[in-house]
């Protein structure tokens, strides 16, 4: 019964733990901007807490580095269930520009399971607020994969192996596929 109540109240009171595992601090500053009066995140019940044991959401920034991967994993495991992980910025989302550098393992999803991605470099504070609103269900997300196809498979190709001559006609053997 208490767990059901917790699920209902979860969207209204999110306690956030901020974990930067090697980023440039650009996204850190944007997260701090979200807590200022102009973009006030506290009106949604969001509070910054100092200990992962008190938190519900871990805001991850910066890519997962070889040196900080274990610390990030331990901070994730120190959070009590139910928990969410938000990957903020392009570095946390997939490694950013540094994705194939020597200390970088990739995005934080290589180390902790990510539930929401907030892309941007750095994402605007409005974008972070939008991400929180999507996570708590206040708005619907606006992205979907886009595919543009000019041709559909299969296409006919005349390969010299499939052509043979009969008299003065050239017959394409795989005619049924055209």
């Amino acid at each position: 019964m208490l767990e059901a109540l917790c699920q209902k109240m979860f969207g209204r009171s999110l306690w956030v733990y901020h974990a930067n595992s090697g980023g440039c601090n650009g996204c850190d500053i944007e997260v701090l901007n979200v807590l200022t009066p102009y973009y006030d995140a506290e009106r949604f019940g969001i509070r910054l807490v100092g200990s992962p044991r008190h938190a519900d959401v871990m805001l991850c920034q910066g890519p997962a580095l070889r040196s900080t991967a274990q610390a990030l994993r331990r901070a994730y495991e120190a959070m009590p269930a139910p928990k969410l992980v938000f990957a903020i910025g392009s570095c946390a989302g997939g490694g950013g520009i540094w994705h194939d550098a020597y200390p970088v393992l990739g995005g934080v999803e290589k180390v902790v399971p990510v539930h929401f991605y907030i892309p941007g470099c750095p994402p605007r504070p409005e974008a972070i607020l939008w991400g929180v609103a999507v996570a708590t269900g206040r708005v619907q997300k606006k992205t979907a994969p886009v595919v543009f196809k000019q041709v559909e498979y299969p296409i006919p190709t005349y390969h010299p192996n499939d052509l043979h001559a009969e008299g003065d006609l050239v017959i394409y053997e795989r005619l049924e596929k055209v």
Partner: protein
């Protein structure tokens, strides 16, 4: 640190009212010149791959499954919205929109994939295919784009059948 100064501070804070923007309730357009998500227009794209060469995050991958089709895949998760692809595109097929509301719960939502029909020779009906591996390397610029693993592979061994194109780093979390 006197009481009068604290009282004045309180009055200043209260007299500013509420400066909080009613953001998710009311939309807020980005300022002019803001670089949001790039939109790839497949109708204008000629498949030159200039954007892919210029992307600093190596976000745009180019792959030819057969000789007439070129797949350009923009991943979207590592994009830093620098705008170099839009600047370099000769056909102006890429526009940096003003869209920043791109949060999502699946990383695959951000991708844009263009499958383009590359023109073939009008006489024989096929694209010119380089014969030797060295010619192929010269054409692609010593690079092989792996769409499944979503990365460039700078290994000429990628053309050899028995080598895997990508070897991931092993992540050791227990010490």
């Amino acid at each position: 640190m006197s009481i009068a100064s604290k009282w004045k501070e309180t009055r200043i804070g209260l007299s500013a009212g509420r400066v909080t923007l009613p953001y998710p309730a009311r939309p807020r357009p980005a300022p002019a010149g803001f670089r949001g998500r790039p939109i790839f227009d497949g109708a204008k794209c000629v498949g030159c791959g200039g954007c892919a060469s210029n992307c600093p995050a190596r976000e745009i991958l180019v792959f030819d499954p057969c000789q007439e089709i070129r797949i350009l895949k923009y991943l979207g998760r590592r994009c830093t919205y620098c705008g170099r692809c839009a600047e370099v595109c000769p056909e102006h097929a890429i526009t940096m929109s003003q869209d920043y509301e791109t949060a999502t719960d699946r990383a695959g939502d951000l991708e844009q994939r263009l499958e383009l029909f590359m023109s073939t020779c009008q006489r024989c009906g096929r694209c010119f295919e380089p014969k030797t591996p060295l010619d192929r390397l010269k054409l692609k610029g010593y690079r092989f784009d792996d769409l499944d693993h979503e990365r460039w592979v700078f290994r000429s061994q990628a053309y050899l059948e028995h080598e895997p194109p990508v070897r991931d780093l092993e992540i050791e979390l227990e010490e």
